[in-house]
């Protein structure tokens, strides 16, 4: 019997009882959709993390001033500024550090004429632009001269520039930060998330010296909130972290059994935990998918057994007019596989629709790849073969005489 004939017969059998066929298919549909989503979520999270890391700048760690533990009493974070400009310079001189920049940040009221917005102002040094991968859309970044001369200059994030100046050129214009005038020297090109989860398009960057003098009151004249440091390569980040910790403990005269008075945040670690979450999610979805496929497969086996019984007479007729046992076997096997593959395709369509819905929210990109589709299709076919074989074999073993007697 030809394959096309078998397919036509399978289609006929499936359509003979559409509701039952659909219900039978549900388990496989859900299973395959889970498997496809699992693959898409895994890929999506990985792509998301890579993108985020690229936005942050590569191989960065953030050294954060923490509370000083004095005689066991913990003070609130930030009340005592333990990091200083000198610490930043010392970190910068470490051989494992390519560049380091101190930072002070605050939220301030920015205004131009009657327009105003409240956003994050970052006081930092020119090194910051390089290591954080900040690019200029227009004008120039903060310079060493600006820092040295405590210049009242500012670089605007893209969105802030648009919000304050619309289409007009902001370069050379004056803005007010906390009611003090600053001249705009440049506009950033970057988009996306900053390391403190703010939007990099909304920040305003000023020289760190100016920030201290005009905008933020610090505990001591040289203290800073953060130091951003970059290592040579992804592999050497951990070495750099060790070096920085050693250096700062030494500089802060922390005894061997006391805790650090600073924190080092390694963005690579975020990536790792993100990847771990992705793997966990994938495993969970994969598990649901696998269970659903097994349950669905058993459902298919059950329905195929019912179908064989119901169609005993048909089998007898077919055998009488010349169907060999193998013809009957193939007929029922192909039918089971067809049910599974159609379910698989519906499952893929369902997961693609879900992925599109998630992607359209704009927060997260979920793509159902060709690889996932191929795997899912093959898998559903395999389920059909596995669970369809026993009923099909049973049908092929029936005796024509008994089948013809069956009412």
């Amino acid at each position: 019997m030809k394959f096309t004939q078998l397919l036509a017969e399978s289609a006929g059998a499936m359509l003979a009882n559409p509701l039952r066929t659909l219900l039978t298919m549900l388990g496989i549909i859900i299973g395959i959709a889970s498997v496809v989503l699992m693959l898409a979520v895994g890929d999506g999270i990985k792509a998301f993390i890579d993108k985020q890391l690229a936005v942050l700048g590569s191989n960065l760690v953030l050294v954060q001033a923490d509370m000083r533990k004095s005689a066991g009493a913990r003070l609130r974070t930030g009340t005592v500024q333990t990091l200083t400009l000198d610490d930043a310079e010392a970190v910068n001189r470490l051989p494992s550090v390519v560049g380091a920049a101190p930072m002070l940040t605050m939220f301030s009221q920015i205004s131009v004429g009657n327009d105003n917005s409240n956003t994050q102002v970052q006081g930092t040094t020119p090194a910051s632009f390089r290591i954080r991968n900040l690019r200029m859309a227009k004008g120039s970044p903060i310079t060493e001269v600006d820092v040295a001369s405590v210049a009242r200059v500012a670089v605007l994030g893209k969105k802030t520039a648009e919000q304050l100046f619309y289409k007009a050129d902001p370069i050379g214009q004056t803005i007010r930060i906390d009611n003090q005038s600053f001249q705009v020297t440049g506009v950033l090109d970057n988009e996306g998330q900053s390391f403190d989860a703010g939007d990099i398009g909304e920040i305003v960057i000023v020289p760190i010296s100016t920030a201290r003098v005009s905008l933020i009151r610090t505990a001591s004249p040289r203290s800073v909130q953060y130091v951003v440091a970059q290592s040579k390569s992804a592999e050497s980040v951990n070495d750099m972290v060790v070096d920085i910790k050693e250096l700062l403990r030494d500089r802060h005269r922390i005894r061997a059994d006391d805790e650090d008075d600073f924190r080092v945040v390694n963005f690579g670690e975020f990536a790792k935990s993100g990847a771990a979450i992705a793997t966990g999610l994938s495993v969970a979805l994969g598990f649901i998918g696998a269970i659903s496929l097994v349950v669905g497969g058993i459902g298919i086996m059950n329905i195929m057994l019912v179908s064989v019984t119901e169609r005993t007479r048909e089998i007898g007729i077919r055998m009488a007019i010349g169907a060999r046992p193998s013809d009957v076997l193939w007929q029922f096997l192909i039918e089971a596989v067809a049910i599974c593959v159609v379910s698989g395709l519906i499952g893929i369509a369902l997961s693609a629709a879900l992925a599109a819905a998630v992607s359209s929210s704009g927060k997260f990109e979920l793509v159902v790849g060709v690889k996932a589709i191929l795997i899912a299709t093959l898998f559903s076919g395999a389920v059909g073969v596995f669970f369809g074989f026993y009923p099909a074999r049973r049908a092929s073993k029936l005796q024509p005489v008994e089948c013809l007697r069956y009412e």
Binding site: A16, A320, G322, S326, D327, L404
Partner: protein, 257 residues
Amino acid sequence: MTTALVELRDVRKSYFSNRIETPVLHGINLAMQRGEFVAIMGQSGSGKSTLMNVLGCLDTPTSGSYSLAGEDVGSLSRAALAGLRNRTIGFVFQSFNLLKRMSILDNVALPLIYAGVNRKQARERAQHQLARVGLGELARRQPNQLSGGQQQRVAIARALVADPPLILADEPTGNLDTRTSADIMAVLTELNRDRGQSIILVTHEPDIAAFARRLVRLKDGLVLYDGPAREGLRELAQEEAVNLAGSLSTATTEEQA
């Protein structure tokens, strides 16, 4: 070499249930040449259906030999038996046995499909065969849209489509009214007369058996009569008359007593 189309030698068939043997055929000897039209008669329990199943290669004898179109049926595997049925036998059943979900055309084409003929060619030949039984117009219909007589014609078309040397008709008129029965028998008789089609007809009705030229009567798993249909049926009628008279006289005696 000219061999008989059908040759049964001392064919015995027993059924086993819980190891208890129930013999049904007690040694049947029967030979049939090509072109013959044989009716097999017998009351229920005579082994008629079992003989039919053996003749149709749907069941194999417990002992004895059966050769069909020169092939020794006893030595064949299930797959080979299926192939033999496909090539040499066209079945016509009492309950038509058409497949419900398929069109008339596909039903008729099915034996060719199992013979490995491609779909297009099989359908062409099926259409041709349907036209010969006068149902060419109804090819696209489903079986349940046809009358009983039409369904049986479709079954005959299906039996003929692969050109088998033997037609095996098992009570072909059992589910039909008298007029339609006569129609169906006319079709079979014509096939035998005009095309030399060999036919075995299993029936319990003497009127239907009368269409055949040769009669085989079974009783208790043995051949009771094998000869020309006319004489056989006359003998049968006499026996029945005697039986009737016997039971009537018994009844009268009982009444008088």
